[in-house]
Symmetry: D2
Subunit: 289 residues, 4 copies
């Protein structure tokens, strides 16, 4: 697995112009890196350049800290948004998972994390209900209860944000969290909050998507993982998947079948995010998978 090798990964987007690949590849070569995977895409309509490149750190002349410093001038020159991640770094990504009462998405993430599928620390779980505390305890992950009412919502969210800050959280996962986050929360984590919506967006936005699907009489249901923005269910889509249903499926069957989709689509979206395979532009994503 490439994950086991000691690698560095650069993820970068910037205005397109001639010579970008040559410059970046030259930078890696000059310091002794061997490129393992490179995926590049230009949106010719928008004039935007997207790149993800991983190289073997075996024999690379720069340490983790040095490589960022060394790349900085080129990043500035390209007016790029960029990040360099090292597979063997000690500062792993730190996740917070927000849940309410449903356990299936949380279970799935915890189970996959235990198998090593996610290269990250699950630092804490936040919920507005106490129901999933035993599951958190079982995995020895701190569980923080923040009951939400109309009146206390803003204060509770501020406390949650303080907690996330103190814990150096960089990615927030809404694992069927049944509260809408307010704009100030969302803006604290641009492209850092991942939600699972239980429909094939943009179909069936809002509440009760399975009921909506049942009543419309569709033959396929879906799930969507996406980054959270101010507009509910309208953020950049990361991953989607579907499953067939028929007239024999009652609403409860849709919920049961959809549960499986939700688990998969959230887990796949999270893995793509943690592997730095996603670039957001406008309201869309480039996913290098």
């Amino acid at each position: 697995m490439p994950e086991k090798t000691n690698t560095a990964t650069l993820l970068l987007s910037c205005p397109d112009h001639r010579g970008l690949v040559a410059r970046i590849a030259q930078f890696i070569f000059t310091h002794g890196g061997n490129i393992i995977d490179l995926d590049e895409h230009v949106d010719t309509n928008e004039g935007l350049f997207f790149l993800r490149v991983s190289w073997d750190m075996e024999g690379f002349a720069l340490s983790g800290e040095e490589v960022c410093n060394a790349f900085q001038p080129m990043g500035d020159e390209f007016q790029a948004q960029w990040i360099i991640k090292l597979s063997h770094a000690h500062d792993q990504r730190r996740l917070a998972i927000l849940v309410s009462k449903y356990d299936h998405c949380l279970q799935e993430i915890l189970w996959r994390h235990g198998l090593g599928e996610f290269d990250a620390d699950i630092a804490l779980i936040i919920s507005n209900h106490p129901d999933l505390k035993p599951l958190a305890d079982q995995h020895r992950i701190p569980f923080h209860l923040f009951p939400i009412t109309k009146e206390n919502k803003m204060q509770q969210e501020q406390k949650e944000l303080s907690l996330l800050k103190n814990e150096n959280i960089d990615t927030v996962i809404l694992a069927r969290y049944m509260q809408v986050l307010s704009p100030s929360f969302v803006q604290a984590y641009p492209n850092g909050i991942i939600n699972i919506h239980h429909s094939f967006l943009p179909a069936f936005m809002g509440g009760n998507p399975y009921k909506q699907a049942y009543e419309r009489g569709v033959k396929i249901i879906g799930a969507t993982s996406h980054y959270v923005t101010d507009n509910l269910d309208e953020g950049p889509i990361i991953e989607q998947d579907i499953i067939r249903i028929s007239h024999k499926d009652a609403l409860d069957d849709l919920i049961r079948k959809g549960r499986d989709l939700e688990r998969w689509v959230l887990a796949r979206g999270l893995r793509l995010h943690l592997q730095d395979r996603i670039l957001v532009y406008g309201n869309k994503t480039v996913v290098f998978d």
Copy 2:
């Protein structure tokens, strides 16, 4: 193949009550029929009974005409909507295909028809543009040109309806026909007009669904075949399917990939319709496949 055997098929829906299956099976047995396939479903919420049953006509005591007459009293008693179709009847279903300029859906239907996949006569093709006349000629199917403007739309539709009536058309297929039918046309063919919409309904209703999908940045596109009702793109869904796309796909790629979906989903929907596998109730369908 059941299609080759001499069979009769009863498709029926009615209010549910005890003993319906026993009565219908007894009717078939009494006259010497052997049931090959029976699929029954009750919507317990709505209290509705749906059934499709096919039996071998070998040794059956009633001829095609007689079987309908014999079943009539039971159908009346059950307050049922029902139809009995005979595989070896001379009075095949008669189709009209409405097209504009795109040929892919028409090609697909004509090709499959040539292979014997559709048990029906394609009686005629209607278009508002002359572009596909050569294709119709090649298959020796009468091609009728009805150019549509804002001014003449109602008159042209009336002429089309007269033509359809004269030709004993019972099923109308909108094979990427780029005109919205007016309510009077739609009402002349309740559950008899099949449309292909090039999106995963209810996502991206209305015009330019591929452009809408491209701009939204979805990771999957779809197509939907449905019966046409007065509300555009809101009729009962027959069949849906999807295909994956990525950031590498430009709008033209969506159109190209979607073209394949449209062909399949329309052809599958039409086949289900022609095999009397669909029962409409409210705005939904029971599909016995």
Copy 3:
């Protein structure tokens, strides 16, 4: 959900002849049952009749025990293999799960069982390794360790069979159990042992299917749940599913992606089995889903 209603389900196969559906439906009607779902299929090549019918026990004149006795003469007359199951019966199906070291299939079954997706008791877990005992403990399911060597295999299997008998086990699940069962074990549970094979059978039978798939360079991998017969990986197939792979996927990625398939395909196969939706004939299955 039909599962919540008090229903009876008859699953039956026998030589085909006229009047079977009428007789069975009449039997249900006579005693006051209302049929909710009936699915019937005739294999006209083999002359075999397959049927699954569920009816509402509300107002049904016979109790659970009585219904079997009442149906017995008809079953005998039809030379049928049949079973009648009652949704609200106290004698639930009793499962034994056999595992080795991998936990993913076991986790999936336990989690779904906790959600109520399987209408059965998980009576015990058997393993040839101690690794999964903590997981069994956590769910408070008795865990029995039977280490297997070449020398002790027959004796250990006999002990396992005694245990299964004592515990009234009717279904055995091989959840990535890494031992081949000997014929005497298999014959004790005809169509009662369900295995998950981590390939799209009949491709890649035998050991290391992911390695075989990797080396062949396929673009899709699969998983298969099937009943166990004397011939390894050749029993009647219940369910299959697939996932796409590419040249970027190393062997470890195949294993990771396949793990998800195995979980789904085993769980779906088990659910179909527990809902009495499967009829085996020859080496094939009729699956009424």
Copy 4:
């Protein structure tokens, strides 16, 4: 669409070492090219480097012929297998399609070709039966009849090869051609003959795969497009896809459903080939899609 832009595409494989991407990107940049898409992959087990890069020829300093000459020394130095294709070149790829009696794959290719999906000339059709001559005539493509018997097979193949040579054919498509090509024919077109096999290889190799699938009782059938090598059905796989079947599907239904798969999988494989997206190594493929 990239196809509309004037682009050059380099497809290359060679032993991996440091600096390859930098050197190639520098080559393109030096002559004024702007890279649109670059996909690179290293098989770290085998130590092999694979790359596909497309750049805009707008403002590029070298003409089509010159670019190959200019790249030659670098290709030699890297011990690479490589090809550079120009989107606006006059020397399009030239295809020969071999068929027998089934028309569905041929129809599909001709229809897509008419839509501009394949950037190639269909130079001729060869068949061992006269059945599809009318279809060839209709599309004004030369049709060559070479009836095959056990006795004349070698001579007929030699004549076919002469014809292919005279017509400068570079890609041969077996569109359900029902003859096995002899090794000398195959060796004349290494990685240049594409076959569609009507099963999910390696399952059901050899003759009558649908019958094999029907008898095995699988729940999913497939199709595979692959390059032809000396070992029947064992060449490098390009593309695969599947469709669900059930106990209701008779052998004829498998054939009908499979027909659709064959069309899609062959067409997708051919498109990938014509867009220079496939690199063969050993018995596997890298597909840059």
